[in-house]
Symmetry: C2
Subunit: 204 residues, 2 copies
Amino acid sequence: MATTAERGRQVRQRLLRAAAELIAERGWTAVSTRMAAERAGVAAGLVHYHFGSVQALLGEAALGVIRAVAADAGPALRRARGPGELVDLLLAALDGFSGTDPVSLLFTETYLAATRDPVLRAALAEVTGAARAEIAARLAEFGVAAPHRAAATLTAAVDGVMLHRALDPDLTAANVAPVLRAMLQGAGRTGSAPQTDSRAGGRG
Amino acid sequence: MATTAERGRQVRQRLLRAAAELIAERGWTAVSTRMAAERAGVAAGLVHYHFGSVQALLGEAALGVIRAVAADAGPALRRARGPGELVDLLLAALDGFSGTDPVSLLFTETYLAATRDPVLRAALAEVTGAARAEIAARLAEFGVAAPHRAAATLTAAVDGVMLHRALDPDLTAANVAPVLRAMLQGAGRTGSAPQTDSRAGGRG
DNA sequence: GACCGCCTTGGTCGACTGCCCAACTACACG
DNA sequence: CGTGTAGTTGGGCAGTCGACCAAGGCGGTC
């Protein structure tokens, strides 16, 4: 076994995990090399050896979590056989998050950090854009009008719900689902002509 | 004129303004006393003289901006004569914000900071709760079913749209409005009986 | 055995942090 | 005019920050 190289990768993973936790607990700009190293149980200098800078560590850690969540949610959403069911599955997947949990906070922190870091912004836009495109494709199958606009608004609404849930615990899936279902059913289902209008909203 | 006391209040206001700007530019936890003092054009020690701590300055600055925005939006929304018109007015008021502007970022930063500061959390919940209650009252007048749930989801969706707009410029009011209008029209209009159900959601 | 390169350690550097305080100014009041 | 007080200044303290680096441990390859 390549024990040295193996240990190196383990240290990398532990630093990424520690960084992701700390972003949620303390906030993006409050995470320091020593803080992450201490939680990972390694020396402080290793952050710069493995990642070069604090920002690189934070970006890689955050994108890793976000990609994992997206990869998890993708297959689950493919089971939906209607817009209402899609909303239910989406909210059910999110009902495990309280709004003050590490994952929810990490998402919002990353969005804000992406506002100030062009590289992170591009990487994050790629991940979220792919997720949005997948939802739009499902909505188009269901005959929802203007699926890209609907998907963009739906994902934004879901993130907003998670953000508000931290302050308003009543914002549960059970309370939100009927409203969001109406959102898609009211705008969608033009009756006979699907008029998907995939042009509007570009392609991402 | 009370020149000394007057100048004192001006320094306070300039510190609050500088802090609000810096929260948006650098992030909540990255704002320092010297940073705010330099932008306000005053000595660093004044932050602790006027506010006691950095957190107190940040909290007061953020809540001041948020209260001002809420006070501005309130009367405008009162002109709405239907749920669709309410959404239009709400989004029209927000179309001036790009998602990367100081006000939008300050909102999200404050939400995140409230997650970690119980005092700030309570104060913020009071402001947002009042705004939500007002919107719920209007929705109830329009005959929308479960107005509190609808209002909570609507405000969360609007904040989510502002958060996503920073990464997706296509998320304009023109693209979002029809989807959110459907959200209220589909769920609302129970027909005759208003059944406002004011109990749900309490009164915050 | 000697050698090599990845990984790790512990420490140092200048800069910055929140908070505090003695000294100072300028105005208000008696 | 003297005195009190709110406001202000600049410096100082102890601690933390990101980044860097010389030194050494370690396993793998000859």
